[in-house]
């Protein structure tokens, strides 16, 4: 006769739990400022040091700062799944800023002017001015400044073995491939990634841009201001991809390929500097991206130039202190420490100017490359179609002489990229 009663009792328990569960969020003593920080795996020791420094600067505040691991390249995915559960302060790669802003996950740093005034004695404008202009521009979306630039070397350039390829040959794809073929070795690049393959198009004057609604504007299936057509660029890429000395590398496989000794030149970034140094030995050299032959002329490739930022969660509980911590982790002395310990190129102008930074090979290459860099403004719908587009070229599925076919490939690529966000 009481069939349902046991179950009901359980329900009551569940409900009681629900009620108390909702009310008990504020139990923690309010004078402890707890902040969670996410940084890259390799940065953990460094960050722990810097956090200690931050705590020492504010001895009267009772901090409880936890450090967690989240790769800069995937931070967005984890954060957007549940913004409220994400860390208060996190490092991320600059290409994710648009999706993060779109989801309202990043604090607008201008809102916390009062905190800078009170604890740093300098306005946000001065903090921004201390960093390179283009890094601040990359951290600015719709005229709002959303993240503190932390590192300036999130881009790619050319590593090569100067025993195989001369400095002059390294200036153009034609030279590189010729030298590599002569040596029975290969030159590699990731084609199947929208981050890498855009460099051909940016070089020829094509652009991408972000619309207000988060969709992407792209003109690659048309004609660039310089008068090149998208089809011509694809044909040039096909020429490179079809060269016997060229090796198309899967995204994320670059370090592995360098280490295996299969390549004597590769387009990659400073994260591979160690691997390249080891593989190329005394021939290790790095320089800006090469030129490629487009319609009979040499065109400089123009990389998708990126930065690494530290942003603050818009839903952070202790947002004021989080903003200050983010600022601290990216200030001049922190950037210098970061360079000293991790060989990561700074964005802070004074830090860039130090002799040690100027003497670093890979960072010098990035700085050379920054002249030919474009801040890649694209929305979330760009990446998958761009990856497929690059893979089509890398696998040689497209026929160089079939201009109509190439055009229609470009058209459906553009169609996918410009699709409205669902």
């Amino acid at each position: 006769m009481k069939r349902k009663q046991v179950r009901s009792a359980a329900l009551v328990l569940a409900m009681a739990a629900a009620l108390t569960g909702c009310g008990s969020a504020e139990d923690a003593p309010s004078d402890v400022v707890s902040i969670r920080v996410w940084g890259a795996e390799e940065d953990q020791t460094l960050l722990a040091e810097l956090i200690d420094g931050f705590e020492a600067e504010h001895p009267d505040v009772n901090f409880d700062i936890q450090l967690g691991v989240e790769s800069e390249s995937t931070a967005k995915d984890t954060i957007l799944t549940d913004v409220e559960a994400a860390a208060d302060v996190f490092a991320f790669a600059s290409d994710q800023i648009y999706d993060l802003v779109n989801a309202d996950a990043l604090a607008n740093l201008a809102d916390y002017e009062a905190a800078y005034e009170r604890y740093l004695n300098e306005p946000l404008a001065d903090i921004k001015a201390a960093n390179s202009e283009s890094s601040v521009e990359a951290a600015t979306v719709n005229d709002c400044f959303y993240a503190f630039p932390m590192a300036g070397d999130n881009s790619y350039f050319l590593f090569y073995d100067s025993n195989v390829i001369s400095e002059e040959q390294a200036q153009s794809w034609d030279g590189i491939l010729e030298a590599a073929q002569a040596a029975g070795n290969k030159a590699g690049m990731v084609f199947s990634s929208g981050w890498y393959n855009a460099s051909f198009f940016y070089g020829a004057g094509f652009t991408t841009d972000l619309n207000e609604d988060g969709t992407t504007a792209i003109d690659w299936n048309g004609t660039s201001p310089e008068g090149y057509t998208g089809v011509q660029v694809v044909q040039s890429m096909l020429d490179i991809a079809g060269h016997p000395a060229f090796m198309s590398i899967a995204d994320g496989d670059t370090s592995n390929q360098i280490a295996s000794g299969n390549v004597c030149a590769i387009v990659s970034g400073s994260w591979d500097a160690g691997a390249a140094q080891e593989a190329f030995g005394d021939g290790y050299a790095a320089t800006k991206l090469p030129t490629y032959t487009l319609d009979g002329e040499q065109i400089q490739m123009n990389s998708a130039f990126g930065y690494k930022f530290i942003g603050v969660n818009n839903y952070s509980e202790n947002i004021g202190w989080s903003v200050l911590l983010a600022e601290y982790l990216t200030n001049e002395s922190s950037q210098i420490t970061r360079f000293e310990e991790r060989q990561i190129g700074p964005t802070n102008l004074k830090a860039v100017a130090t002799d040690e930074v100027q003497a670093n090979y890979a960072i010098a290459a990035v700085i050379a490359q920054s002249e030919f860099g474009t801040i890649q403004k694209v929305g979330g719908k760009y990446w998958d179609p761009a990856q497929t587009f690059g893979e089509l070229i890398a696998q040689g599925t497209l026929d160089r002489n079939d201009e109509a076919g190439i055009q229609s490939t470009l058209d459906s690529f553009v169609e996918g990229v410009t699709a409205p966000i669902e």
Binding site: R36, L67, V69, E70, A259
Partner: protein, 284 residues
Amino acid sequence: MKKIKENRTSTIVLHNILIGVLAFIWLVPIIWLLCTSFSTYDGMNTSTFFPEQWSISHYVRLFQPDSVAQFPRWFLNTFVIACANCVISTLFILMVAYATSVMRFPMRKPLMNMAVILNLFPGMLAMIAVYFTLKTFNLTNNYLGLILVYSASSGLGYLIAKGFFDTVPRALCESARIDGCSEARIFFQMILPLSRPIVVYTVISSFLVPWMDFVYAKMILNAGISSQYTVAVGLYRMLDKSLINTYFTQFCAGGVLVSIPISALFVIMQKFYVEGVTGGAVKG
């Protein structure tokens, strides 16, 4: 007789060679795992099958925690979760199996039908809902939450155990009832002791769940604090793009270390599994 035997010597050899070849094919990746884990090289070795230099340095490193790899901690976490899950899941499964197999009540068949359909509903689809439910109760980044995820719905996997209980002769239960035994006593004192194979099978298989799962664990332990991870999440994260070149060999070493206890349990379990299944499904 003798003639036949002589004839067969060659076929026996062939037969065993065939098995040997198959076993070899099946074991190649496992051998590779073992070999690679003893390599001195950090990243993935793509040029040779066997490492050029052998060492146990990566095993040693597994036990010297750094910010990424905290293997002993992960192992302990997983062990605790596995034990808790094991108790709850086993209870749930046996309870449901007994109720549906031995007892008769009005909603039995509809409940069984529902259970089978729900059980095949892929957990993946309901992940976000489960996540937010747990978050409401403050159970994310919490082992209790993870244990609940693994065990709460485990009653749905009652079918194999039920199949076994079905083979326990009903006459036994009936006579016990006539003697005035309560259902609870029949369950605890008659059916359970008779069902050792299926109990062992259920215990081991629910113990193994947390060692294998990375999807749910990754979702619920999302604070990014490495020391909270389970073995599966921790190892999985070692293959992150930015880490694979420094941690691949450690991943292999970790994989080997996890596999040893699991293999042992598996070998024990398979015996009971065969008994349980033959006891259950077949006799019908």
